[in-house]
Symmetry: C2
Subunit: 755 residues, 2 copies
C-alpha cells in the first residue's frame, strides 16, 4: 500500500477549486448581527470620553458597545496566551493606533461601518515609545504592571512587576564568552535590524459567536481551536464543554490566527445581545491586529587563528507592540538559537521582549528565527569576508553537527545542517564560475542557513475510528490552513491501517468533537500531531486484531476490517476506535543559565542560496535564482512538502525586498495593499526546492515539520549576494532599491542629497 | 455524588420549552429545493404511463422525477431493513394507495405541491388483497419474488422464493402440544384481531439531503442514523464514510422513524439535481408511510383439572402491508412470546409475516407485543371465567417465574412478572369491594400483564471524552426523541466519573462523529447503549488513573481530573478518551424448533389494571382509573421512567379505544386527525404509574429499558374490565362505543338493525 511517501494531491483540492470548501466567511446564521470596530486614533492616551450617541441613533444600529459594557459582563476582560494584558475593548487607556475601543452591531454591516464613523472619542494623550531599544528605558511605560497568564509556569515570577517595558528577559550563558572574546584572535561585531511587517492571509480574520443560555459556539478562522475554547471558558468562568469552537478551512494563517484574536470580542458581544455576532476584518484592519516583531540584534563573534568561532554574544530586542501576545515565547523559544547553527563553546545570549506603542507582534512563520538568521548569517558572511575565506568553507568549518551540543546544551540529533549547506552549494554551483555581469548590471551570489527548535511541552490527541466496512475517520484539532496537514495525516493513518489515504475522512476541527491539540503552529503538526495520529491508528489496528480474535478468526492473518466486523457482530455493524495522546519529553531551560539538555523534540533546518543582479544606477535588485533546501526528515508527501518550502521562501522574499509597515507619529501610513507591497507573480524568481535526504528517527515514519524552514535563509542569502555583487552591506530589512542605491552612493563617496 | 437514581429534569428541557432545540424541520440550506410526492391512487396495478409534462411546465418547478429516473442513478433502487423490496419511487407496479410514484422539486414547496396535482398516472389495475388471513392464499401476489436484505443471516434461505405472500414464517415447538391438548381437562380457543393504526408523532417525517461530489450529508428525523448511513452507502455503492447522517432532537418516533423512510428518496433526488433537497410529510401523508400491524391471532389453551395451563397453541398472522419493512422481525422476535408470561410445558407457535396491498407496517412501540398481549390476556381472562376462578389467582398459579424456562427454552432471569401482577392487584384494590354501578352505568375491573424480549444481537459503541478541566463529553448515536436517553446516559457517565450529570455534554447523533449504534428502538438504549456508555466511562476513568500515575501522583487517591492534566501536561491541556463496544451474548433460535437457550439479554415486563364504567344504553366506556406497573430494574431517573410508563399507556389507550385506519377498496377514508381520533387531554383517565422494586443484574447500575412496557396490558385490561362490568367480550380493537353496544345488544338478544 505504502501511503507514506506518495505524492497525492491534497484531499480537499477539488472542494477548494470548485468553491465548495467551507470558510467561516461564508457562514450566515439566523438573526446574526455584524460588528464593526471603532479604533483608537492616538498611539497612547487615557480615554477621557467615548460619545456613541450619534452612532446609536443611526437607523439600523442595534447596539454600540464599549469596554465598560464588557466589564459589566466579564469583570476581568483581559486575555492573551502569555500575559492577560489585552482588554477585549480598550479600558481606561489606549496603547496603539488602531486598538479596538468600541464596537457597533447592526443587521447590515454597511450600517455598522457608517455608525463607526459617528463615534467620537477623546483622549488625554501620553508620550509614546515605538523603538525596541528605546523601550528598554522605562521613561515611557506602556503597561503599569505585568500580568502573566499562568499558562506558562516559567512566567509566574513576573507577576506584578512594575516600572518596565520588558515583558520577558531571557538569558543564556554557556562557557565563558567574556574570557573567550579576550583570548580570541579577532572580535567582530555588527548590528542588524528588521522591520514591522505582517501576515496578510488572503482570508482576513473572521469570527462568529452564537450564544446559548450559558454556552457559546464560536465559528472562527483560527489556528488554535483548543486554546480558544479554554480561554473563552476562562473569561466567562465556564467549564470547557460550554464553549464549542468550530474551524473550517483557513485561507492562510502564518501565525496571525493563533490564540485569541477576534474571538473574545465576538463572544462578549454575542453574550451581551444574546444574538449571533460576526466580525470580519477588512484588509486594512489586519494592520491593527497582529504583526511580525521588528528587531534590533547586536551580534559579536570571536574567532581564533584557525578561523574557528570561539565565542559569540547576542543581544536581541524584540519589539512586541502594545500587547504581549505570544511575543515573550518568541523571545525565549527562538532566542536560545540566536547564536546560529555553529559549534561555539562560549555563548552569551540576552533576549528581550518589549512593549511599545505599536500594533502587537506575535508569531509569524518562523517565530522570530528569520529575524535571527538575518542577523547571524549576514554577520557570518561578513566574518568570512573579513577573514578572507570562502563563506561556505567558513560555515563548514564551524558547523554544528549531530552529536555536538547546541548553545542550550542539548546535543544535536537528526539535524541535517551540513546536508542542507551542501545541497545549496551544489545547486547554486558555488564552486563553479558564473557570469558576474558588467557595466551597471553586476551579479553576485550568497548563501545562508538557519535552524529552529520545535515547541515543547505540548500535547496532541488524536482519535481514529474504523467503520464496519473498513472506511476510516480521523479526528484531530489540527487546522488545515493550506499546508496539507489533513492529507499527510490521512497518509499516516492509511499506512498504519493499510487503506488508501483518499479513503480516510479527516474531520474538521470542532472542540465538541475533535480532541485537544495545542495548536497549529511552529511547524509542530506533522511531528507532534502526526505522532499522535500514528499512535491512534496503531491503537485502532491493535483493537481490530483483538476483535478478529474475539470473532474466532485464526491469528496471524490480516483480515479486511469488513470481514472482522461481520464475523464478530453478525452484520455490518460497529466501530473500532483508537486513541492516543502524545507529549514529547522535554526539560525546561534552567532559569539562571538558560540551559537544558532536552530543549526541543526535533530541529528544523533550512537555507537558501541566491543569485542576484544589482543595477548600480538605480539600486534595483533582480533575483536571478533562488535555491531553497531543507531537512524535513523523510517527507510524508514530497510534493506537498516542496510547496511548503517554496511558499515559505516566497513569503520571506516579500519581507526581504519590499514589505514594511511605515509609521508616522504612531500612525501607520501604508495600511493597504496598494501601499504595502507583497510579492506578485512577476516578483517570483526562478526557484529550486530541495528536500535533502534525511530522517527524523523520533518522527512519524521518519518525518518532521517544514512549514517555516523555507523562511530561514532567504533574507541573508540575498543580502550576502548583493554584497558579493556590488560590495555593499545592507543591515536592515527590507532591501529596497533605495536602500541599495544609498549604500552604493555612500560606498562611492557620493551620498544621496538627503544623507 | 450518586448521579444514578437522581430525579433530574431532562437536560434539554430548557432548550425545548424556549423553542431553541434543534429539529430537522427548522433547517434550511442555501439553494435547497423542496420535494413533494405524487402518490398511487390504486391499491395494486401495473404502471402504464406517468404524464409529468404539465407539472414540469408549471413555472417554478425545477424537476419532476420518476422511478425510472432514479433507476438511471441507482441500478437497483430497492431498500428495506429485512427485505430489499421497496423501490425509492414505484417501478413497474404500485402496491398500495399512497405509494410514492413521482416527486416534484421546486424552490417553493407550495409550487411543488401544486405541480403534484398536475401529474397523471395510468395503471392496469390488479386484484388486491387486504386481509392477513386471506393473504395466506397465493391467489393474489403482492410481490413476485422474495428478496431478503442479507442483513440477517436467518432470512437468507428465503432468497428467490416465489408464489407466496408470506415474507417469513416462524415456528416454535416446545414439548408436545397436540398430545397435551388431547390429555387436557379442558381446551379453550379464541380468535382476536387488531386494527391498522399508526404512530403519528407530532413531528411528521422530514429529511434533507445535501450532496457533495461523491458524498452526501443527510439531516433527518430518524431513530437509526447508523443504519441509514450503511443503507444509503449501499444504494450508491460508496464506503460508509461518504455518507454523513445527522439527527437532532426528534418530535417523537415510536418506531415510525427506524431504518430508511424518506432518506433514500431525498438522497437520490439530491444526487440527481446536485442541490440540497428537503421533503417533509404532511400529517395526512403519515398514513401512507408506516403503520402498526393489523393481526389475527388464534389462541388455544389446554388446562388440567388443577387449573394449570398444560398446552397452548398460537397462530399469529401479521398484516405487513405492501413492503416488509421490519415486519418479519416482528413476526419472529415477538412471535416467540405469543404464549404469554405463563409456565406452559407444551407450546406451539406459528407466526406469519404477510404482504398485502396496504400501507406497510413496521415497528410501533412494543414491536407486536401489544397485539399479542391483547390476545393472550383476553384469552387468559376468558379461561379463568370459564373455570370460575379469580383471574388474578389463575394468573398467579400459572405465572412464569425466574428460574423457569420460557417457551423458547431460555430460562427466565430478572423478570419481575409476579411483582408487577401483585402491584397492579394492590393498587387497583383487587380484593377489595368496589362500586359496581347501577342502572345503565355499570362498573368493572380488569387486569393484564405482558412481557417482551429485548433485541439481540446488536452492537452499541460509546465514547467518553474528559477535557483538561474535567468537563465531559459523551458521543453516542442513540437518538433522544423525548424518552430522556441523553439525561440517563449523562447520569451514568456522571456516576462513573464522579461529576454532575448536568455537566456532561451529550453530543447529538452525527455518523461522522458519534460511533455506531444499531438504533434507538425496542427499548434497547438504556440497557445496550447504557452498558456501552458505562464501559466507556470506566475506560476513561482507568485512563485518568493511568495519567495520574504517569504524572507521578501517588496512587490510591482520587485526584480531580483538572489536577491530573495540569500535572501531566504542565498546563490546562489534553483529553482522556474512553471507548467501549457492547454486544450481549445471544444464541439465535434453532431454525427447526424455534428454540434458543439465550434468546434475549433481558426481559421487559409491564401490565395494567383498569376500572371502567360502561353505559349500557350507548356502549360508551369511561375509564375511571388506569394503573400501570412495570419492571425497569433499578431506574436511572425514576421521574423520567414514570413518564415513559404513562406515555406508553396513553398511546396504547388511543389504539384501544378509538384509533383505526379505515379502508374502502384499498383507499384510506380517514387520513386526517379530524377523522382519525387520538386521545386528547380530556380522554386521559386518572392514572397511577408504579415501577416495581427490581434489579436487572446484567444492566447498567441494575437498570433496563422501559419505553414499551407501558403498552402491554392496557387493551386487554380494559376489555377484561368491560367484561367484568357488563358481561360482554370485545375481541377486536378498537373498543368503540358502537362495538360495545352491538355486543350488549347481541347478548340481550336484541341485535342492532344491521346485524
Amino acid at each position: 500500500m505504502n501511503q507514506v511517501g506518495r505524492d497525492i494531491p491534497r484531499l480537499e483540492v477539488r472542494a477548494k477549486v470548485t468553491g465548495r470548501a467551507d470558510y467561516t466567511h461564508n457562514l450566515r446564521l439566523p438573526g446574526m448581527l455584524y460588528g464593526k470596530v471603532f479604533r483608537a486614533t492616538v498611539p497612547h492616551g487615557r480615554i477621557r470620553s467615548i460619545d456613541t450617541q450619534a452612532a446609536r441613533e443611526l437607523p439600523g444600529v442595534y447596539r454600540v458597545v464599549t469596554g465598560e459594557d464588557i466589564r459589566k459582563l466579564i469583570p476581568e476582560p483581559y486575555y492573551g496566551p502569555a500575559f492577560h494584558d489585552q482588554p477585549i475593548l480598550a479600558l481606561d487607556k489606549v496603547r496603539y493606533v488602531g486598538e479596538p475601543v468600541a464596537a457597533v452591531l447592526a443587521g447590515d454591516p454597511h450600517v455598522a461601518e457608517l455608525a463607526v464613523q459617528l463615534i467620537l472619542a477623546e483622549y488625554d494623550e501620553l508620550p509614546a515609545v515605538y523603538d525596541e531599544v528605546a523601550a528598554m528605558q522605562p521613561d515611557t511605560l506602556v503597561h503599569d504592571v505585568l500580568r502573566p497568564a499562568g499558562t506558562f509556569a516559567d512566567l509566574k515570577h513576573l507577576q506584578g512587576r512594575k516600572g518596565t517595558n520588558v515583558a520577558l528577559d531571557y538569558h543564556l550563558r554557556r562557557g565563558d564568552a567574556d574570557k573567550a572574546f579576550a583570548a580570541a584572535d579577532r572580535v567582530i561585531e555588527h548590528t542588524f535590524k528588521t522591520q514591522q511587517c505582517l501576515h496578510l492571509p488572503f482570508e482576513p480574520h473572521v469570527a462568529i459567536a452564537e450564544p446559548g443560555d450559558d454556552r457559546l459556539t464560536i465559528y472562527t478562522s483560527n489556528q488554535t481551536p483548543s486554546f480558544v475554547r479554554i480561554e473563552i471558558a476562562r473569561l466567562f468562568g465556564w467549564p470547557e464543554n460550554h464553549v464549542r469552537v468550530k474551524v473550517p478551512y483557513l485561507g492562510g494563517g502564518y501565525g496571525s490566527k493563533v490564540y485569541v484574536k477576534l474571538e473574545a470580542l465576538v463572544a462578549a458581544l454575542a453574550m451581551l445581545v444574546r444574538r449571533p455576532v460576526k466580525i470580519a476584518l477588512t484588509m486594512e484592519e489586519q494592520f491593527y491586529m497582529i504583526t511580525k516583531h521588528p528587531t534590533t540584534f547586536r551580534i559579536k563573534s570571536g574567532v581564533d587563528k584557525e578561523g574557528r568561532l570561539v565565542a559569540r554574544s547576542c543581544a536581541v530586542y524584540w519589539n512586541g507592540g502594545a500587547y504581549a501576545d505570544i511575543g515573550p515565547r518568541v523571545t525565549q523559544k527562538s532566542g536560545f538559537t540566536a547564536a546560529g547553527p555553529y559549534d561555539i563553546d562560549n555563548v552569551s545570549i540576552d533576549s528581550y521582549a518589549l512593549y511599545t506603542n505599536r500594533t502587537p507582534a506575535g508569531a509569524l512563520r518562523g517565530f522570530g528565527v528569520p529575524q535571527l538568521v538575518w542577523a547571524y548569517e549576514s554577520h557570518t558572511d561578513l566574518i568570512a569576508r573579513e577573514l578572507g575565506v570562502d563563506p561556505v568553507e567558513f560555515r563548514r568549518k564551524n558547523l554544528l553537527r549531530d552529536g555536538r551540543p547546541q548553545a542550550s546544551g542539548t546535543v544535536l540529533q537528526d539535524a541535517a545542517i551540513g546536508e542542507v549547506l551542501d545541497a545549496l552549494a551544489v545547486r547554486i554551483g558555488w564552486n563553479k564560475p558564473f557570469d558576474r555581469g558588467s557595466g551597471t548590471l553586476r551579479r553576485g551570489r550568497g548563501i545562508a542557513i538557519g535552524f529552529k527548535a520545535s515547541i515543547s511541552p505540548t500535547t496532541s490527541v488524536a482519535v481514529v475510528n474504523v467503520s464496519a466496512d473498513g472506511s476510516v475517520y480521523l479526528y484531530k484539532s489540527t487546522v488545515d490552513m493550506g499546508q496539507g496537514s489533513d492529507t499527510a495525516f490521512a497518509q499516516i493513518v492509511g499506512e498504519v491501517l493499510d487503506v488508501k489515504a483518499e479513503d480516510v475522512r479527516v474531520v474538521a476541527p470542532d472542540t465538541d468533537i475533535t480532541p485537544y491539540d495545542m495548536g497549529t503552529l511552529g511547524s509542530r503538526s506533522l511531528f507532534h500531531m502526526g505522532t499522535a495520529v500514528r499512535l491512534a491508528a496503531e491503537d485502532a489496528r491493535a483493537k481490530l486484531r483483538a476483535l478478529a480474535t474475539e470473532a474466532g478468526l485464526p491469528q496471524g492473518t490480516n483480515y479486511p476490517p469488513a470481514e472482522i466486523f461481520k464475523k464478530r457482530y453478525g452484520m455490518q455493524a460497529g466501530n473500532v476506535i483508537g486513541t492516543a495522546s502524545y507529549v514529547p519529553n522535554y526539560k525546561p531551560p534552567d532559569p539562571q543559565t538558560g540551559l537544558s539538555d532536552n530543549v526541543t523534540p526535533f530541529w528544523m533546518v533550512g537555507g537558501a542560496a541566491a543569485e542576484v543582479e544589482v543595477d548600480t544606477e538605480t539600486g534595483h535588485v533582480r533575483i536571478l535564482r533562488l535555491v531553497n533546501a531543507a531537512d524535513c526528515g523523510k517527507p510524508i508527501n514530497p510534493g506537498v512538502a516542496r510547496t511548503q518550502l517554496s511558499g515559505a521562501a516566497i513569503m520571506q522574499l516579500g519581507f526581504t525586498m519590499s514589505e514594511a509597515m511605515h509609521l508616522d507619529g504612531g500612525q501607520i501610513t501604508n495600511a493597504s495593499l496598494a501601499d504595502y507591497k507583497i510579492p506578485g507573480i512577476g516578483d517570483i524568481p526562478p526557484m529550486e526546492n530541495e528536500l535533502v535526504a534525511a530522517e527524523q528517527h523520533s518522527g512519524p515514519f521518519g518525518a518532521k515539520g517544514l512549514g517555516e524552514s523555507g523562511t530561514f535563509g532567504v533574507s541573508p542569502a540575498i543580502a550576502n549576494a548583493i554584497h558579493d555583487a556590488v560590495g555593499v552591506r545592507i543591515t536592515e530589512l527590507p532591501i529596497t532599491a533605495e536602500a541599495v542605491l544609498r549604500a552604493l552612493r555612500v560606498k562611492a563617496g557620493q551620498p544621496l542629497d538627503d544623507e
